[in-house]
Structure formats: structure tokens, C-alpha cells
Subunit: 404 residues, 4 copies
Amino acid sequence: MSIKKRKIINDPVYGFITINHPLIFSIIAHPYYQRLRRIQQMAMAQLVYPGAVHTRLHHSLGAYHLMCNAVMELRSKGVEITEEEETAVKAGILLHDIGHGPFSHALEHIVVKGVHHEQLSLQIMQVINEELDGQLDLTIKIFTDQYHKPFLHQLISGQLDVDRMDYLSRDSFYSGVSEGVIGYDRILKMLVVHNGQLMVEEKGIYSVEKFLVARRQMYWQVYLHKTVVAAEKMLVKILERVRAIYREEDEMLSTLSDLDFFLGKFNGEMNTAALEKFCSIDDHDVMHAIKRWSKHPDKILSLLCTRFLNRKLYKARIQAEPFDENYIEKKKHETAEKFGIGMEDIGYFCFTGEATNTLYQTKDERINILFKDGTVKDISGIENALIQQNLSAAVKKFYICLLD
Amino acid sequence: MSIKKRKIINDPVYGFITINHPLIFSIIAHPYYQRLRRIQQMAMAQLVYPGAVHTRLHHSLGAYHLMCNAVMELRSKGVEITEEEETAVKAGILLHDIGHGPFSHALEHIVVKGVHHEQLSLQIMQVINEELDGQLDLTIKIFTDQYHKPFLHQLISGQLDVDRMDYLSRDSFYSGVSEGVIGYDRILKMLVVHNGQLMVEEKGIYSVEKFLVARRQMYWQVYLHKTVVAAEKMLVKILERVRAIYREEDEMLSTLSDLDFFLGKFNGEMNTAALEKFCSIDDHDVMHAIKRWSKHPDKILSLLCTRFLNRKLYKARIQAEPFDENYIEKKKHETAEKFGIGMEDIGYFCFTGEATNTLYQTKDERINILFKDGTVKDISGIENALIQQNLSAAVKKFYICLLD
Amino acid sequence: MSIKKRKIINDPVYGFITINHPLIFSIIAHPYYQRLRRIQQMAMAQLVYPGAVHTRLHHSLGAYHLMCNAVMELRSKGVEITEEEETAVKAGILLHDIGHGPFSHALEHIVVKGVHHEQLSLQIMQVINEELDGQLDLTIKIFTDQYHKPFLHQLISGQLDVDRMDYLSRDSFYSGVSEGVIGYDRILKMLVVHNGQLMVEEKGIYSVEKFLVARRQMYWQVYLHKTVVAAEKMLVKILERVRAIYREEDEMLSTLSDLDFFLGKFNGEMNTAALEKFCSIDDHDVMHAIKRWSKHPDKILSLLCTRFLNRKLYKARIQAEPFDENYIEKKKHETAEKFGIGMEDIGYFCFTGEATNTLYQTKDERINILFKDGTVKDISGIENALIQQNLSAAVKKFYICLLD
Amino acid sequence: MSIKKRKIINDPVYGFITINHPLIFSIIAHPYYQRLRRIQQMAMAQLVYPGAVHTRLHHSLGAYHLMCNAVMELRSKGVEITEEEETAVKAGILLHDIGHGPFSHALEHIVVKGVHHEQLSLQIMQVINEELDGQLDLTIKIFTDQYHKPFLHQLISGQLDVDRMDYLSRDSFYSGVSEGVIGYDRILKMLVVHNGQLMVEEKGIYSVEKFLVARRQMYWQVYLHKTVVAAEKMLVKILERVRAIYREEDEMLSTLSDLDFFLGKFNGEMNTAALEKFCSIDDHDVMHAIKRWSKHPDKILSLLCTRFLNRKLYKARIQAEPFDENYIEKKKHETAEKFGIGMEDIGYFCFTGEATNTLYQTKDERINILFKDGTVKDISGIENALIQQNLSAAVKKFYICLLD
């Protein structure tokens, strides 16, 4: 009996994850992939949900595991997926989030202003692809939706992809928010391919509804929880302050890491050199910097950093309607006075914003249901469905944050 | 209806943790306590078990939750515990690990050589106690076992304390190692107090056996897993190397954090100033330093750091007998040659060591079983028990680690 | 230390259930209560979900456990609940379903035509109350909503009572349908009492939404699953056939149990003698009877029984619109021909019906949300709520069942 | 895309069980298999663990699921298993317990005295095999260990077979006894075949230890729990009493089921007619009979039955040493006097017995560990193993049961 190289990884969410292909081993061993170990999936949600400290690497392995199952299920239903395609789509899901930077979404638009993480994922894939002599060619084709079997792309990125299935499962597991639990295994068993498109069997409707409702709950209860928002905004304000007072010669601002480049010289152009720097920064650089900046002479910066470290966050309120302008003005003045700062800097101490969540985005890709008689309907168009057109409109909430 | 200030925290392990006393709020809000959020409970175990990234803060909250239940159970059995004692013992468990430094046990004897974390916990408690005007007086009495109800101390620190119950439950939960699951709720229900001592009812014997076996499994399968050992040793070797080449004027060694003090000037005396510095360092400082040192001109240091970051760890073997001296010598020479270093430095690249685990330490405090007829027996003295005298001897394993 | 009489019961859903009051012990030891051990909670759902074999007794113990928690939570928020009220409301939840007969809802209107199980529960409570010298006086007052603290009644029977919380939790646990999982512990923590009425704190809105959606899912996916409906209808048809051909002198129909009385002489009047007989029948009598009747000379009866035992159930279809009359007629004729029976008996072999489910019944008692500013709103009236007026209308589905 | 006939079954223990082969469908649809739905796996354990009401059918489906996984794992390691063998071994595990009668082990030696359930399983397999035109030929060869790949037999029946893995997992799940949880998925991943024999990889040692310890815990805490023993003994005594007073013309003894045959005429010879009768009896017949007998004029019989139904069981004590003869005599006389019965009948009211459990049976088939260097060792022979020779001796406990 010959034993193929095979590794199993314990995962509290799914039990065991199996790795058994050389390309997958190569990707996981890559320093750029290992970096994901140092980036928390849920950024500052851990300030409210102390268990939510899992990493991007763990999420990516989990999504890979679901992809393995999805491929197996689809094949058992007669969908043709070649071995090459299987490996490619697995590599794709492993790498789908490789472009995330420190604290994931929380800092996405601050650290590398104007560059979306999916674009970065693609660029990094291309770099790794070169190192691997083109072994990721097919992966990249699928990732960019240029392959003739669209369902493979949809498994990586779509309304019902394994990325979402994993992050909902994992985030609810680690945060302990049972409202976010989804029946991922049942959804996987209900997937079908029809005319090349990924769909869900008729009897999977309730699981899909459950999935959409769970997502909604996670948004309001966790991702957009007012204290989570307050914490992530504080992180953003800290970086904004650093940018505002940045001078290369200010040694106390220097983080002694490649983060310095993105705080200073970076002009939005993500060339090879910039990309390499990007691939070397992680949560630790940001946290170390904040600890350092908490002693910076700039009063605003040091105050924000100290309070962030000690979890004395902005006080936040969130509500369905915009806050009254007079109320906002009053709060701003009170806060400015309390902290002895000028109104030109009040934005660091008191500000408003909007949080948006959509139960189901009909404009985006749809979740299609395949009925036994062969007809296909969008989930929102099914009679008596929980998810109806009127519910698929975006829901906006308004928040105000202030230091007290 | 008046609502007392009360906060509930989601915990994936136990559901919800309730905080409802001003002193407990004060402790949790303290910067020294919040620091535990930045220290991982299981250090480098996450390199093998990617889910094992929970923090000291989370463990401490969990142990607090079990303490709440233990107090409630004991009271319902007629054990007298005053409100003051209740609060004190809860505060004690929250603070029992406050003296842990970066990466907990992994670096315990390296960062602050010669100072045990329990000693540090006590010192820090005393500092906080002063700030809180003596509100922790009783806590400290109980923590140092100077209170006339020894069972309160035993709940915090003993063979069957809530600390162990939580770390086994939490570590097995987050690592996904089901072998470590214990019946903590059943053990709690079986606790009794007899002559002031904490004991277990007769019908709790199997749960205690299960607890001891689970602990054993966690040691061999997780805490002393050869790759975990390899990773933690690498961390130790990195810090040892820094110490060996330390010169204050070497800017490239500076971490721009209070860690510098412990790498350099610290002489083992933990005075007020040193303690304050200690309370400001955490995992991020170490990780940031390692990233920085990976570019240090010292070849040994930079190599170790780079490999650590990219998870190219020592290759480890572990076995029941010591390794043959000739074998070790051979390996050392091969390794020295491979990396072009002198034999005086081979200890950074190839070394041996011992790992020890004890199923049940009869010398330590015992786990006493209270029989229905009022007799008390040590668990290892019970006929047909799984845990017998011969099994309570320490089991030693030998490992060799080398870079390849 | 004196140990009060106390018993703990393992429960896979909640961990441990604690019994510690003499009245509760008396109730549980009562033969009428022990009878619930022989009645399955989910009737024939086990023919689709093989794990769903838990009993009424288990559900009742589970609801009791949640009641213990609910009382503790409400008290910790300052709601006054005396010890007497506590015991009474716990006794009430234990007994709330004592009036269920064999196979619970499936046979409710067949075995004791015209008598609702809640009415029977009350009658049986009164019998037990007499035996217990009036110890259930307060329980009965609360159960019948004649007590001046309506929230106690609402905990037993209301839109958000512990009965529903337990059956959803337990049924989804035992059937393995994760879609039905609710955050019962979070809902319990969010309960408040306002003006004597049970309500939910503002931040519990999402948990309530989740609860309502989970209930909806359980209805369509489990309770009204077409095969479950088919199985339960077969049970009903079997009993209807027995009634139709009943003659006291037909020995082959006799079940040698008190079930005979309800198949024959029972006239709808539930007097003391009838009630005693009712309290002696359970699932085993029905199953034994079906096995016996499978050999009865009446061809229709024996066929239905044999197929029921061997799980060769009606083939069922379910859809959003009523079935076409012509289609039904055609099916009936085909079936009659296939089995060689007359059209007067076709109702045993082919029939249609309706299944109804309501997401949230606004006409019934409401789920009220208590906002921080003291206002109270019905859950369906909250802006952006998932559960809106238009969704609270009943959803009807239509099914056809036939033997093939 | 063609969809092969495929069915998925929700299972709370494993998630989903997939059926996708015509032979497996045939077996599951067979009335003899469906009968297992009416036999509880854990007999009277539900009187102590109310959740433990799962059925033989459910266990059998669960073991089948683990077999599917085992086959997949072994194949992925290069073990050759043909499609025919795969189906045969799956059919074998489905049918391995088909020979169980009412209340499984509890009544095994009472209902069909002298016939072991494995012998009955084989006979029933042969009957079904004939109906299926020999499709079970290979299954029977494997089941009787006459096939040239012994590991296939060992997967069905051995020290580490999927039968045990499922019953431990399922019994601990349904009873809520966390001490019995095993890492079945890890054990499955560690299985290997060496020289045709089923073994465990070296790194699976701890999982095997855990498995053996869990089994031990389940025996003492559940299967041999003193109240469970008391309940099952009461069942046995009831049937013994019926046998003792049996006269065919005693109508009040008749159960109106094939159970009558085994109480009366059955002479130990399991011929075709007897087998057919055997395959028609289940728990319901016994329970119905007990309800009926509770009104029988024989005072001993009716008393036992009434107390059994109302859960007024024997009071049991269990201890490590045999009970003192004088003590036993005294108890017998007291009991006889209390109930006014003669000493010739005291065995129904007061009796002693032994319960035996073995941690690991070295005499039986062994659990072999395959080391990386190719050597094979029995688990009990491994240095420092938890399971040592001295622990593999049978542990005997002594109990006394009496009515009070």
C-alpha cells in the first residue's frame, strides 16, 4: 500500500480538512499565504465578541474544505469536473482573499486607498503563478470568470459561494452568535448545475432562505454592531490622523515596518515593489504602531491610540433615521470643549455615518432555484417566499460616534 | 422594575457569560486586564491547530463563568459563601493569569527569566488593589491561600480548579481536538465541600477520570505536539540569540517597545518600574520584533526569524527513549555543515530536550472523593480506578529538533 | 453541610436539568406524567427524520428547565417572583402537555374527537391537584390565566413561551435539522416584564426574528413535510377505517387496551371514568393495534396497516395552489381501479387536504418589544423588521396523497 | 446532467447520511429492516437518560455512514476495495444487528433463550439474500469472515469496528453523557490496512486510547448504571414470571402477538416459521403486554408490571465486593415479609448479580498499531500507554436489587 502525501488539519467547525495535492501544498507553504495567519478575519469584532479572533488563513482553509465537498457533491450528481478543474478551483478559493491587508475590511480603504482587495488578490495570484511556472493559469481564468464553465467561478464568488458559506459558519461559530448558523452541508447537497450555472434544487429553498436570514442577522448583530463599528472607526481615525500629520522625519511616527510606505509615499499605484511591501504587512504592524503612537506628542493621535488599546471606545448610537443636524452640532461642540480641541479636528472625536445591509441583492448575481419541472426562478420571485422583492432593498442605518 | 447594570458576553464555549458586579466591571476595564486580549492562550499551537488563536482574556472570562456556576452549585448544596467571598473569588479567577507575558508559557522563562507568572499575577493584583482602594484585599488573601476557607483557594488553584476546567474545554474547543472535551458541567455539579476542602461526590468519579485522561490527551496531542514544541523552541532560540548578540547601540535589534528593556537591562528584579514595563508588552511586540529581526545582519537571527514567519520550522522527532549521543553528534555536524555555521552556534539549529507530562500528580494537591458513608479517598487509591498509582508517575519523552 | 434532595438529569440539548423541589418530584413520579414517556413528541416525523423519536416527557422536562432559567433571569432584572409562584409556574410547564394522547397532535382529533389537549391537560391537573391536596391551586390559576401576574401565564403559553422554545430547540436537535436552531438562551436573557406583561428588550429583536423564521422553517421542512403528512394521514385513515367498521363483537378489532373504549363507546363526554381510561393509553397501544389489524380480514384496514408498518406510505405531492378537480378525479379513479375498491372507499387511498403555517400570528397574543425609551411595539410593526404585516398572513399549501 | 437515484437522511450525529445504491435501498425498504425502527437501541436506559430513545434502525444507518467514510479513507490511502466489495460491506453493516429482538440486549437471552443475536442476524441475512437472488452472497462471506480480505470483516466486527464507533457516538449523543464522546472521524482517518488486517497509524494512538476509555465510561455510567440495571432486570423478571405461570389457556397472559409463541411453545429451535415470527415482534408487543399484565390476577406479575410502567423500579446498590450472604438473606426476608410473598418467589423481588466490564479485551481480537518503521504492536503493549495489561483484566461489580 502506497500512501500519497496527505495531511489532515483539525478544524473545530468542520472536523478535519484534508490536503492531498502538491499544488495545494505549495500554495499553503507560500509566505504570502502564511501571512494570512497574522490577519484577523473579523478585525475589531473581538472587542465585542471575544472569541472572534480567527484568522484569514483559517477562513481560507475552511472555504477550501467546503469547495472539496461541493466538487464531490456535484460530481456525484453527474456534473463533469476534470481533475485539473478541481485543483484549479480549490487553488482559487484558497487564494481568493490573499489580497486582504491588516484587519481585513476594516482598513481596506485606508491602508491602500483606492485599491480593492479582489484586485490585489488577482495581482498576488499572478506573482505566485509566475513562481509556480503557470500552475495557476486555469485558476486565474476561473477567478476572473473567463472560463467556459461559469459555475466554477460562481463557487468561488457568487451569491451562494463557499466563501460566504464559510465566513458565516466560521464567524458565527467563533463569535458564539447562534443566529448566524447556516445549514452549509444541506446547501452543498442541494447545489446543481443547469446550463452551466450554479443553482439550488427546489427542496433547498428553505436552506437558502435560512442562509439569507442568517447573513442579515450577522450583519446587524455582529459586523455592524454599534460597538464594532465604533472600534473599527477608531482604527480608521487613527490612521487618518497619522496621514494628516505625517512627516517622514518624525521618528515617533515610524513603525519600523513596510506600513510606513503606505502611510507616506504610496501614491495608489500598486507596482511590483509596492505589492511586495503590501505582502509583508499584517495586524501586528498596525498594533505595534498604535502602541507606539500612544506615546506620540500629538495629543489627538496619542489619545485615540491609548483609548483604542484600553478599549475605551467611541460611544455609539445607531438608529433608523439620520440624526438631527442640530443634535450633531451640539454634540460636536460639547465634545470639542470637553477635550479642548478645535472644531477643525472634531472629526476625530465626533462624527456620523451610515451602515448598509441588504438581505438579498437582486441586482447582483441571483440565487436561482431549479424546479423539478425544469423551470428556473430567482429566490425572490417565488410565491410565499420569505425573501421578497420589497425585502431585497438595502436597509440603511445611521450612527453617531463620540468620545466621552 | 429597576435593572441592575449587567452585561452579557457571547461565548461559543458556554453560551453567555454574565457580568453584574461593579468590581468585576472595574477589573475587566483595567488596561492591564485588556492587555490579555493581545496575548494568545496557546502561543504557537496555532501553527498546527489553526483555530487555536483564542486569547488569555477569553480564557479568563471563561474561568470566571465556571466560577459563577461553581459558587451557585455549592450554595445550592448548603455550602456557605457570603456575597463578599463570592465577589472576591470571582475577582481572583479573573486575575489569576494577569501575570502572563507575551505568548504565555512559551516565553515565560525567557522574557522575565526567573520570575514565575503566578508571582507576577500577585504583584499586579497588588498594584490594582491599591488603585481600587483595597477592594481586592480578600481576593489576595484567597489567592495566596491565607483565608480560612481553603476550598475558595482550591477553586482558583488546585487539581480540579475552574482554571483547568476552562483551559481544557476552551483549548479543545478552539483547536478542534475532541479528545480533550471534558464534562465540566457534570464535574461542577459533583463538587462538594467537606471539612473546608473541595471534593468530588462519589458518583463524579468517572467524570474526574475523564478529566484526567482528557488532560493527558491534550498534553501529548496538542501542548507537546512535536511541531508545536518545534515552533515554541524556535521562538525561544530567537530570543536567546537576540540576548547573545545584544548591544544597546544595535538599532536593528531595537523593537521600539518595552520589550527592549527585558532583552537588555532587566536584571531579574521586578520592581515597580519593571512591572509597569512588563504590563505594556504583548504578542504584537514580539511578532513585530521578529519581522524586523528577519532583516538583521546577524545571519543566525535573520534565518530563524524568516523561517519562523514562513512556518518553515525545525523538523522534530519525539520518542520514548533518549536519542543516541552519536546520532545527535552526527546530526549536529550535518546541520552545521549545511548552514555553514560553527559548532559553537549549533544549539540554534539542532538540539535535544525533554517533554514531561503527568496523568495525575499525587504529590501535589490531591483530588479527593467523598463517599456516601463519609469516607474520603484520593482518586488514585480507589479500587479499579483508571488512574492508578503506577500511572501517576511522570511520563517523559525526548525530542530532537533541527533545521533542514 | 446538609444536602437538600436534588436530582440532576442529563439532557443532550441543555446539559443538565436540576430537580430540587418536593412538588416537582411528586409530579414527575406520578403515573400520568410517566405515561408521557410512552408518547413520542413528533409522532410520525421519525419516518423521515429517524432521530426524531424523543418523548413528550423529555420535552416537558426541557421546557421546565427553560422555565427555571427564565425565572432566574427575570429575578436578576428585579422582577418579583415569590417562591410559591416559582414552584407553581414550574409545575405548570411540566403539566402543560399532560393532556396529550397517543402520537400527540397526529391523532389528537381522532382518538378523543372534539376534545382539545389543553382542556384535557387542565382536567388532569385538577385530578392530580386533588391527590396532592391542592398543591396545584396556584398552578391552575396561572395556567388558566386567572392570576394577577399575566407574565407567568405567558411564560407557559404565549407567542414566546418556554414550551415553544423547547420544542423548536429539541425537535431541531433530534431531527438534525439545523434550520430550526434558535438562540433560546439569548431570548431568555432578553425577556423583561413591563406592566405585568412579558416582553423582549430592544436588542433582542434579531433573536426573536430568528425564532420566528426558525419556526417557519421547521413547519415546512419537518412538521408539514409531505412524507410526514402522508404518514400521519395514514395513521388517521387507519383509525377512521376502524371506526367505520367497528362492531364490539369483532374480536380482531379489539386492541386489548383502553383504546377500545375510544374507538367504540366514547361519546365525546370526558367524565372521570373516561379520563382515567384516556390516561392509560399511549403509542404502544396504537402500534400494537396496527400490527394486529394488519391481519384483519377487512382488506382496506389490513392493507393500510401493513403499508404503514413497512413504511410504504402514501405518495404525496404538495404545492402552492389547489389541485385541479379533474386531476384529483382521475387519480381517484386510477387508484380505485388499481386496488380494486369502490369509489365509496376511495378516501382511504386517495385524498387531498391543506396545510397551513403562519410566520407570526398578529391576531393572537403579540410579541412585544420594549424600547429603551419605554415605548412598546409589536415586532411586526417595527421598521425594517423581517417580519412584516404582509408576512404574518397564513400561508396555505395543498397536498394530495395516494397509494401507489 | 443525469441524477442518479440518491437520498439524503438528516442525522443529528453526523449531519447527513447518503444512500445511493439500489441494493442499499432494497435492504432499507425491507420490512425486516423497518422493524428495527420499533426497537430501541438502549432498551431501558431511557428511564435514567430520557433522551436515549433512539432506535436500532438509526444506529444501523449511522454505522453505515461511518462505513462509507471508512471505505473512502482507506481507498484514498491506496487500499484496494472494489465497488462490489464496497457495496457488500455497506450491506453487511446495515444488517449486522438485524437479529436483535425487542429491547435489544436487555431481553436477548430471555425472549429467544439460547440464540445469540449474531446468529439470528446471519439467518435473517440468508432469508433476505434468497429474496434478493443472491445479491448478499459476498456480504455473507464477509460477515462470516470467510473472505480473503479480513479487514472488511473487521470493519463490521472487531475491536475497532464502525458498529462500536457508532453506538458509542450515538449513545453518548442521545443520552447527553459527554464522557462517551469519541473522535470517530479522527479514528477513521487513522485506519490503515497492513497485511490484509485493519490497523491504526501510530499517530492515532491517543484517539484509540480515548475510544477505549470512553467505552469504559459508557459502561459504568450508562449501560451498567445501577438504575438501568434495575429496570432491565425488572423487564427480565416480568418475562420470567410469565414463563413460570404460563398456560396457553390463560387468556389474560396472551399478548395477541407473535410474542406468545416465544413465551410458550418455542423450544429453542429457530426454524423458518419461528424466524418469521421473530421478525414480527418488537418493543411495542412487549410494552403492550406489560400494560395488559399489570391487570393480571397473578399478584407478582401485576405488581412488577405496574411498578415498571410507573417507574417505581427496584432499589439497586452496586459495589466492588460481593454482598455479604447474611445481608442478602436479611434483605430477602424483609422484602418477602413486606410484600407478603413466600421465599420461593423472593427472586422476583430481591436478588443479586454481577456486572462486568473490560477496558480492553486482549484475548479477543486486538487493536494493532502500525508504526512508521513498519512494526506492529498491540495497543496494550505500547510503553507508557494508558491501556496496560493490568487494566485489560475484566472489572466485576456486584449489585443487589430489591423492591421497597
